[in-house]
């Protein structure tokens, strides 16, 4: 009975928390849309000229001006644009002459696959490194982990990519070069999900799987290294915090084996804020992917964005920016909610 009412109260608090988070996110999304819209309006390129060409008569120009809705007030233009965006209509790309939403849907899986493999690498190495550094605080291991992290923070990712290609592809020939898959393997499988590792594995095309893997391993390792720098640093500080708590002393006094104290009891509590860190790193990978994809000719969202940029394809740039921004905001919100869900202390505080 008691637990029931408590549960009910907790549930209500939870709903309030979710409602307030959703409110914040709604405002942020609106801001995202306004900023993107305004960026589109300050472009020095005349949108009418790009439709009618520079040899059009004044009458043709005026007609196109009206057709594009540019004679209406800015707020109304924004409203019309907003309605289109919510219907998934970002306009048509001048470069590919396809609807931008369709373009983005086509390139997105490539970025998703790259970012996912990267975060797996970053987490799998970053967390143990952080834990190890915290346990050996101030010792050699701690210093090494710190320097490894600092290098990750300081090196330009596109340069690391070029150096990696030079060394592992051109000189040592250990991996495959730019792109996602060699042409000779491209027809060994049908891209159903667009995630080539998954597609090849499900269809049993193991030769192609190996090829895809040797393409993805270098860019994913580099991006993973960037998130590793952040994840290991945060893990270290969370673990130091936990290891100083009294329950650790209690566990030691009771004779719990040291590995269990570190890897089970302390890490379980440090894992709560770590989830947020990993979610944030995942969002940051989207950013890193813009430069990495350019270097590795990776046909994802990042490369699409830079290609559109270089060809002054403003609609495509804004569509890409909006999608990346929306994912970024979404992941931030998700990590926020997850934190509330996992951390018992924040539940009763609201």
């Amino acid at each position: 009975m008691v637990s029931n009412t408590l549960g009910g109260r907790r549930g209500a608090l939870w709903l309030r928390k979710i409602a307030s988070t959703l409110g914040t996110v709604a405002v942020t999304f609106l801001g995202l849309l306004i900023v993107t819209f305004l960026i589109g309006r300050v472009v020095p390129v005349d949108p009418v000229l790009s439709v009618v060409g520079d040899r059009a008569t004044q009458a043709q120009y005026d007609a196109a001006y009206q057709a594009l809705g540019l004679d209406r007030p800015l707020v109304e233009q924004f409203w019309i644009w907003l309605q289109k965006v919510f219907q998934g209509d970002f306009g048509t790309s001048n470069l590919t002459t396809r609807p931008i939403a369709q373009d983005i849907a086509r390139v997105f899986p490539a970025t998703l696959e790259l970012a996912t493999v990267s975060i797996v690498i970053g987490t799998a190495f970053g967390i143990p490194m952080g834990v190890w550094a915290a346990v050996r605080q101030g010792k050699l291991v701690d210093q090494v982990v710190r320097v490894v992290g600092l290098v990750g923070y300081s090196a330009p990712v596109f340069w690391l990519g070029l150096m990696g290609l030079l060394l592992f592809y051109f000189k040592l020939d250990l991996i495959s070069g730019p792109g996602r898959v060699d042409i000779s393997y491209e027809y060994d499988f049908t891209p159903r999900t667009g995630l080539f590792l998954l597609d090849t594995a499900m269809q049993g095309a193991w030769g192609a799987f190996g090829n895809v893997f040797s393409h993805i391993i270098l860019p994913a390792s580099l991006l993973g290294y960037l998130s590793l720098a952040y994840i290991s640093r945060m893990t270290r500080s969370f673990m130091l915090n936990e290891l100083a708590q009294e329950y650790i002393t209690t566990a030691r006094v009771k004779g719990v084996p040291e590995w269990r104290i570190i890897w089970v009891q302390a890490l379980r509590n440090a894992a709560v804020p770590l989830v947020t860190v990993v979610a944030l790193s995942y969002a940051n990978l989207l950013e890193g992917s813009v430069l990495t994809e350019t270097v590795f000719a990776w046909p994802g969202l990042g490369q699409y964005l830079t290609n559109s940029l270089q060809n002054a394809d403003m609609n495509a740039v804004l569509g890409g920016t909006l999608v990346i921004g929306a994912i970024f905001v979404g992941l931030n919100m998700f990590s926020d909610l997850l934190y509330t869900l996992l951390d018992a202390r924040t539940r009763n505080r609201t």
Partner: protein, 301 residues
């Protein structure tokens, strides 16, 4: 020398100036014991000196090369320590002159973004209420954008070029400072000395500018220093994509892009500017870490 030292470390400073200089000197003594931080400090100092004396330090012209004789010379060639690029230009000289661009970007972004962040944060924190809500919501919106993507979109709209890159990076850089300044302001706002100043009839602007901003400065400066590395990397990234400084300017990111086409046979053209970017941003990271250790009030003994 000992006289100056005693004067600086005096327990009973007789003037405000002596107290302030003494404080700075103590911070420096503390800072000096941190080897890595000193290393970072020296790198940044070297960057500043190289940028100032670039025309005297560079052995060759950074923009004009000898296409007939000095194309793509490897490093350690006679008179060309780091080799030459495809236009026959000395890479070392270009790096030396490029340090000016890097320093200018960092300095200008700091000069533009820091006051904006401070102003927004302290105002929001001091007034509270709807001012706080509006300003912080705005901050959160800008913060919600991935920095590089927002900078890319701005540069795309404004047109490529180093000035626009600086503006774009500044627009994305101020929100963290605003948040930090707000948090600091909230802890100071209700202190007695602020109440006393208010009773004396000081205006809100005066209280914020004269009493709150100075107390927020040290934590904001640490944050700005730590962000410098990120700013350098973003600027280099924009340069690499051809959206920052335009050729033939010796911007380091653009130099990497230039060397990309002959990476396999002439590795040094793309490698050297990358090393320069790496060294400088490592320097700022180490310096920022060290400053944080020294200036963080929670860590002081």
């Amino acid at each position: 020398m000992t006289m100056t030292r005693d004067w600086l470390l005096s327990d009973r400073p007789v003037s405000r100036r002596q107290a302030r200089l003494g404080q700075i000197y103590r911070t420096w003594l503390d800072f000096r014991t941190n080897g890595l931080a000193m290393f970072g400090f020296l790198i940044v100092l070297a960057l500043v000196l190289v940028a100032i004396f670039a025309p005297w330090l560079a052995p060759h012209d950074p923009l004009l090369g000898d296409l007939n004789h000095t194309r793509l010379l490897p490093p350690l060639s006679e008179g060309y320590l780091l080799g030459t690029d495809d236009q026959g230009r000395d890479i070392l000289s270009r790096l030396i002159h490029g340090s000016r661009i890097t320093l200018a970007v960092v300095a200008l972004v700091a000069v533009i973004a820091t006051p904006v962040g401070l102003l927004v944060g302290t105002t929001a924190g001091y007034f509270g209420g709807w001012v706080d809500t509006v300003l912080m919501r705005l901050t959160d919106i800008v913060l919600a954008f991935p920095k590089l993507i927002l900078a890319l979109a701005f540069v795309a709209a404004l047109g490529p070029g180093i000035e626009n890159a600086i503006i774009a990076i500044s627009i994305t850089a101020w929100p963290p400072y605003a948040r930090l300044a707000r948090a600091e302001t909230l802890t100071i706002r209700n202190s007695d000395f602020i109440a006393a100043t208010k009773l004396q009839g000081a205006s809100a602007a005066r209280i914020i500018w004269k009493h709150i901003v100075p107390l927020c400065l040290s934590s904001v400066i640490v944050r700005v220093t730590l962000d410098m590395a990120g700013i350098i990397l973003t600027a280099a990234g924009l340069g690499f994509l051809g959206l920052g400084a335009q050729p033939p300017q010796p911007e380091w990111g653009a130099m990497i892009a230039g060397g990309r086409n002959f990476l396999v046979d002439y590795w040094w053209v793309a490698t050297m500017p990358g090393l320069a970017i790496f060294t400088v941003s490592l320097g700022f990271n180490l310096l920022g870490d060290g400053l944080r250790d020294v200036l963080d009030p929670k860590r002081q003994k």
